[in-house]
Symmetry: C2
Subunit: 260 residues, 2 copies
């Protein structure tokens, strides 16, 4: 695991976030957001335009890299490097005027997520971290917080509604074991795990572009990011993720989720 993301790719990822932020900002809380038609809401327009701008920049600079984006699909998915993009993670947050949606920019190397950027265009917060790059928040080094036991842990999930069937039972079990549970946040909440203010973030039903950027940032802040079985996250994960600031809480959470 001695792979280190080359400097120029980290710089480039940061520049991608600059482009995306500039495209998205004017659409936030625009009056259109309230009166729009369902087929071209401002969130949809902002999402598409931001992704198009990032894809254009990638194609110009790294024409052999692959791209996997929420809005415009996959090209060169088998390339050594694949950029995994979600311009607006937290569509509902954007729709309801909350500055907690984020832009997610992940970079995978040979199928493994190695670099992530989380950008919040309105509060102007940016997280960057990955292989060989300790995580930063607006340029300041960050670390997750030690937390030995579930009973002391602050748990977050975007919504309890996304856990279906047995997953719902598993989440309810977990909720009963922790100190507090908060909701909302989408990718932003994972930034708060990296910052040490949330101990445990559990979700289900995520897509690759929802977690590809998050896993490297959590890991490079001292935390751990896996699926509910404890396996590394990759393109073929089943969308159930468990990320924690401390490996002890992570292990305990997996046990409770599994019902063992």
């Amino acid at each position: 695991m001695s792979y280190v993301v080359p400097d120029e790719l980290v710089t480039f990822a940061d520049a991608l976030a600059d482009v995306s932020r500039a495209v998205i900002r004017p659409y936030f809380r625009s009056r259109l957001a309230v009166e729009s038609k369902a087929d071209a809401s401002p969130v949809t327009i902002a999402d598409r335009e931001a992704e198009a701008a990032m894809r254009c920049k990638i194609a110009q600079r790294y024409p052999d890299h692959g791209i996997n984006g929420e809005e415009h699909g996959v090209v060169r998915g088998d390339a050594d490097y694949v950029w995994v993009l979600d311009p607006i993670d937290g569509t509902k947050a954007f729709l309801t005027g909350r500055p907690s949606f984020v832009t997610l920019i992940g970079l995978a190397h040979r199928g493994r997520p190695v670099l992530g950027v989380i950008d919040q265009p309105i509060t102007a917060e940016r997280w960057v971290g990955g292989a060989g790059w300790p995580s930063q928040h607006n340029g300041t080094a960050i670390r997750t917080t030690p937390c030995a036991a579930l009973a002391d842990a602050k748990l977050n999930a975007t919504s309890a509604d996304m856990f279906k069937g047995a997953d719902g039972d598993a989440f309810t079990r977990l909720k009963r074991c922790v100190k507090i549970t908060t909701y909302g946040g989408d990718g932003y909440a994972f930034g708060l795990v990296a910052l040490g203010f949330i101990d445990l973030a559990v979700e289900a039903g995520l897509k690759y572009y929802d977690y590809c950027a998050l896993a490297p940032i959590i890991a490079a802040a001292g935390g751990i990011a896996t699926d509910w079985q404890g396996r590394p996250l990759g393109p073929d994960s089943d969308g159930r993720v468990c990320m924690a600031g401390d490996a002890r809480v992570h292990r305990a959470a997996l046990e409770v989720l599994a019902g063992t």
Copy 2:
């Protein structure tokens, strides 16, 4: 209902929010927040100090006014004017590093909430509105958004966990009728109702200091704020509130909550 809040009280309420914001800001995401003891966490300290600062300012300027605060209790509760204070509404949001907690400053006149301030110290957002004072967000006039039917409504609740027993069933029924449901936000979400980005906000288990500031702002933005029976909110309400930007959605929501 020709009562209008005197100018000087609106100006004073704004000044209270300035004081509270200045006290709270340094505690947000302070490292202490992570490592603190349970009996004196930064959120507790910030809450107490901000309320003490506001109480002091009120006592100096309006010694005959009453005060009802979350942290330091009630004095002169039967005065004509009572200030109702919650320096940090959204303790969990504060604890988990989210800039969505708010300071709530309400003013009641003869038991009726007549003026409200919602302040977010980190994003520097402030809502002010009340009797005779159309609601503003950072100085700009705001209006709720027309929404004719529940099927088109964006619903928010801080957490589904706060609805106990039959209230939980009522909330589940309501959730099934709306377009989307979002979670989190506490008082901030009511600001988003006033801004027109959320159509309906329903909560249970609230205290007077949680909703006294919110009801006047919603009303003065063109919306409607009541308990689950459609009664005006006051000191003796049962903590179940329903606020909407449009009276049609409000009425429909009350019917679904009542199960009729």
